[in-house]
Symmetry: C2
Subunit: 244 residues, 2 copies
DNA sequence: ACGGTTCAATTGTTCACCACTTGACAGAGT
DNA sequence: ACTCTGTCAAGTGGTGAACAATTGAACCGT
């Protein structure tokens, strides 16, 4: 029988999904302050429900709550990026090395992610390309056979993606990564796990370096435009000017 | 100046802390159904605040929410235990191997945890003993230098501890683990990381086996007392009988 | 014994309200 | 001009009461 999981999710969860999409999709950029009342109104839910949703996302690390000061989309520092890549290296390499018993379906999923990735790149759909790039890495984690690790890794990728939305795709070619991923897949199916691990390690190093570079460029460009202290969460003046 | 971080936590967070203590301390046993209204009333907070707290704990894995069906203290299966130990092995062993640059303060904290552990065992304070046993392992993770890994590991230990509260301490001697921990500490300070890692691996295997054994015994004992299906979350009959 | 119906209990969600904190602003004092 | 201080509006934290939706036990007729 087709076990179509009936949509049995609370409104708060759905709101969290929507906000997550907007953040990860780059619609809500890091640092953006959010106000409960307008946000709740814009989605047609109550303030309490919105608060539950923001609570979820703040525990995921996508939003940052400062008590009595408001909520803002989280911002990744270069230190955060380095930390996340350190953990990714450990988890993903260990996953590949643990891939002795690789199920056909998992390999099939990897293949599908790879194909979708290439397809998106050819179609110049960068958002979809990044998604399938990261999906490929998520699938690697499944070799561990641990739901908890999968969830944790997914959370890490979510945070990382927040840093990625900043990058200017005109100066960065996601298509470059196609051959590496394809190589990883081939080595994996061939059972050459150690070689696969070393390629993966280099791939992650390279990936981190590219992201760090683009973040540096972004940070220095930003420093010229904004005050050094960063924008405060509250800004009555702006509101007042909008009312005029 | 003394930067005493002023307690700046929301009520919901404090409620979460209290519930966490009760769950981890064994006061609220796995499977126990919780009702929002009485629980909120017992702590003197509103239902909304209590819902925020339960949301936090359910995301931590300590509570399990079934929509419209209520909340219950989560229950660990043997499969969960195995999974958690698999992840622990990976994280903790990697941490030890990464302990080339071991700071004196971290070593000092490890030493302190060790001492406290032994002290608690001598005082027959099992709850405190378990706490410091796990604290020792948490500190190991700090060699990674990653806040995110620390938080994740902490979450794993929290879940694990929920399984531990079931064990009957009369049939299990926590003091047995003292020499192993002491050995780990010695090897670590001596810089014999590889040897330390193998000892740690065996320690974790042993630890898992002991917990699995005691959980099996508990499960079979429970099966004789309760209906096979497990208790349902709602039970109006009981309430009605209490009112008579 | 079986299958459908009723119904009270509980959770999900909304709403209105108040307390408290924050940060901008204006005026006093130097 | 500069700093300090009190004021004030905006916004979040938290409460309590209401209503809607769902569940599952009890009931009922066959």
């Amino acid at each position: 029988m087709e076990r179509t999981q009936i949509a049995r999710v609370s409104v708060a969860d759905q709101v969290a999904v929507i906000l997550r999409q907007r953040i990860l999709g780059g619609e809500l950029r890091p640092g953006t302050p959010l106000q409960e009342v307008p946000l709740a109104a814009s989605l047609g839910v109550s303030r309490n429900t919105m608060r539950e949703a923001t609570r979820i996302l703040s525990l995921e690390g996508l939003l940052k709550r400062s008590i009595h000061r408001g909520i803002a989309v989280a911002q990744l520092s270069r230190k955060d990026v380095h930390e996340i890549y350190h953990v990714r290296r450990m988890l993903e390499i260990a996953a590949v090395l643990a891939a002795r018993d690789r199920s056909p379906e998992l390999l099939h999923d990897l293949r599908a992610a790879l194909d979708q990735y290439e397809k998106s790149v050819r179609a110049r759909d960068w958002v979809s390309a990044v998604s399938h790039d990261l999906l490929f890495h998520s699938l690697l984690i499944r070799f561990h056979g641990s739901k908890r690790l999968e969830a944790f890794h997914q959370k890490l990728l979510g945070e990382l993606r927040m840093g990625m939305v900043l990058v200017d795709r005109r100066h960065d070619d996601p298509g470059m990564l196609i051959p590496v991923h394809r190589r990883l897949y081939q080595l994996l199916t061939a059972g050459k796990l150690k070689e696969c691990a070393t390629v993966l390690a280099r791939h992650l190093d390279d990936s981190e370096a590219r992201l760090a570079k683009v973040m540096d460029r972004h940070a220095s460009a930003e420093a010229g435009q904004r005050p050094a202290r960063g924008t405060s969460l509250r800004s009555p003046k702006v509101v007042a000017e909008n009312l005029r």
